[in-house]
Symmetry: C2
Subunit: 305 residues, 2 copies
C-alpha cells in the first residue's frame, strides 16, 4: 500500500506545490482522493496511469479540490475509455460534475460516469478493502475518508493437518472462510484461522478544523493525512477559515493514536524552508512522527502481517 | 517584447508539456493567450505574476484551451483583486465562463470580469499596441490573434530645429503627433517625423487546419506560433482532427513571409526526442527558421528601431 501526494498546496498552487490530490495504491489499483486543477498532469509526472482509476473520492466542493476532474474526465474520454468511473462526494457532487462538464463545447463520447452522493458511514467495499467517511468541520457537508485494508487471519496449516484436512483445494476453501467436510466431519474456517490482524488504515481529512469525528475515524490508523494549512504562529487566521494548524493536527494525531501524521494543504504563506522547518518542529514537539507532505512524495505503508 | 510558452501540449498534458497557454509581455504588461488547465501554476513557475494580467484572449472553446480560467479567476478573487479582468473570445465565451464559475460552491467576492465576444477584425487597442483576430479552420468560430506593436516614427530633431522649433515641450508635442505654432507659423508632426517603421508582430493561431486567413494575418510577422499537432508522417490523422502538421505550418510560414515559426500544441504521440527532431528537421526543409515550442521557453522579439 502506497500513498503518492500529487498536490499539497492550500487554495492556490505555488511553484513547488500543486492543488489538493493524492493517490492510494493498493493491489495495483490507484484510488484518487480529491482532484485539484492539474492533477492529471501530476499523475503523468508521477508515473501513475490515470486510465486505471475507477474510484475518485471528493472531500468537499471547493474548486481547489475538484477542478481537475474536468480535464481528467475529458482526457479519459479522448483516449476512448469506456469502463465506468465512480465518483464519490457529498450532496451536490452530481450537479458540480454536470456543470463542470457542460462548460464549452464538450460532449462525452465513450466514458460512463457514476456519481455517488454519500453520507457519513460506509462508502464502498471490495474483497480487499473498505472506504468509510465521516463529517468534518469545513463546509456544510465536507467529509474525511478512511481507506482500510480488511483484517487478515493467518491460516494455521498444522492445525488443519491435525484435524485431518488434506493439502489442496480444501485448504483454499478454509482460507476463504468456507467450511469443509472431511470423512463426514465438518471443519469450520474459525477452527484453522488465527485471530484477525487489523489491516492497514489511511485517513485523509480534506480541509477541516480540528474535529472529534476525525479522532474517532482515525483511531490506531497507520497514516493520518490532515489539513495543516496554517502555522500555530498565526492561529488567528483559522478562526474564519475553518482549517487547522500544524499543532492542532498533531494533537489530533496524539488523540487518535496514529502511527504517522502528514500535514497537507499547506498555505502559500510559507514558501521558505525555514518556515516549514519551524512548522514541522512545533508539530513534532506534540507528535514526533509528523511529516510535511510534498508534491510527488511517495509513502509506503508497511504490511501488518 | 517577450513570448513565454506556458503550455505546448495538444489535448492532453504530458510529463513535460502542460496544456495550451502563452504570455506575450510588452512594456511590463503580460497578455495571456489561451488558458489550459494548470496555467496559473505554470505562471508561478515561470515567475509571471498572474495578478498583473488584465487581458486574456481565447482562440476557441475546447476545454484544453480554457479550463485553467476557473482556477485562475478564483485565485485572483481569493487574493482580493478588484481590478477589471477582460476576457476576449468567440461567441459562447460568456456562457462558458459563467458555467465554469458556477461549478461547486464558488462565489466571486472581489473581481469584476468583462467578457468580450468578438468577431473577425480589431479586438482591442492601447496607446502602444493593437490586437486583431481572424477566423481559422478548427471549430465553427475558432480564431487566430495578431498582437501588433504600433508603427514607430523617428523624431527628426535637426529638422525641427531647422524649422525654428525650440527644444522642450514643443518637441514632445510633435513627437506625440500634435501640431505646434512657432512665431505664428504652424508646424505639423508629419514635417518632423520620419517614415513609419512597422512595429513587431506576433501571431498565434490556436488550433487550426492550414488556412488562408492566417497567411493574410501573419504577413511579414516577426513570429508565427502555429498549430503543429501532428507530424507530416501521419498526415491521415489531420483529416478528421482539423489540426496542422509540422510541414503544413512551415508552408504557411513561407507564404506569410514571417521571420520565425514556432510549432505548438504538440501531440502526446511524440514523447521521444528523436521524433521531435524529425518533426523539426522536416519543417526546416521548408522553412529553416522553424522551432518547436517547449514549456517555459522564453522568446525575445527584437525591436525594429
Amino acid at each position: 500500500m502506497e500513498i503518492t501526494f500529487l498536490g499539497t498546496s492550500g487554495c492556490v498552487p505555488t511553484e513547488t506545490r500543486n492543488l489538493s490530490s493524492l493517490i492510494i495504491s493498493h493491489l495495483n489499483s490507484p484510488y484518487l482522493f480529491d482532484c485539484g486543477e492539474g492533477t492529471q498532469r501530476q499523475m503523468r509526472i508521477a508515473g501513475i496511469n490515470f486510465m486505471k482509476i475507477d474510484h475518485i473520492f471528493l472531500t468537499h466542493l471547493h474548486a481547489d479540490h475538484f477542478l481537475g476532474l474536468g480535464g481528467m474526465i475529458q482526457s479519459m474520454d479522448f483516449m476512448e475509455r469506456t469502463r465506468e468511473l465512480n465518483i464519490y462526494g457529498p450532496r451536490g457532487t452530481q450537479e458540480t460534475i454536470n456543470t463542470l462538464l457542460s462548460a464549452g463545447t464538450f460532449i462525452l463520447d465513450h466514458l460512463t460516469i457514476k456519481i455517488h452522493e454519500i453520507t457519513p458511514g460506509p462508502v464502498m467495499e471490495s474483497e480487499n478493502h473498505a472506504v468509510t467517511c465521516a463529517k468534518t468541520l469545513h463546509t456544510a457537508n465536507s467529509i474525511a475518508y478512511l481507506f482500510e485494508e480488511k483484517p487478515h487471519r493467518k491460516f494455521l496449516k498444522q492445525k488443519a493437518l491435525d484435524l485431518g484436512v488434506p493439502e489442496g483445494r480444501l485448504f483454499s476453501d478454509l482460507q476463504q472462510g468456507k467450511s469443509v467436510t472431511v470423512k463426514g466431519k465438518t471443519i469450520t474456517a474459525d477452527q484453522v484461522l488465527d485471530n484477525p490482524i487489523m489491516g492497514r488504515k489511511i485517513i485523509y481529512t480534506g480541509d477541516t478544523k480540528p474535529c472529534n469525528n476525525v479522532i474517532n475515524l482515525a483511531q490506531d490508523a497507520d497514516v493520518l493525512i490532515h489539513d495543516g494549512t496554517f502555522s500555530n504562529d498565526e492561529k488567528e487566521l483559522i478562526e474564519e477559515a475553518a482549517h487547522s494548524t500544524n499543532t492542532q493536527a498533531a494533537e489530533i494525531a496524539v488523540k487518535a493514536n496514529v502511527k504517522k501524521l502528514f500535514l497537507t494543504h499547506i498555505s502559500q504563506r510559507y514558501p521558505k524552508p525555514e518556515d516549514l522547518q519551524k512548522i514541522l518542529d512545533d508539530a513534532r514537539k506534540i507528535f514526533p512522527e509528523t511529516y510535511i507532505a510534498e508534491d510527488l512524495m511517495k509513502v509506503q505503508v508497511e504490511k501488518h502481517w
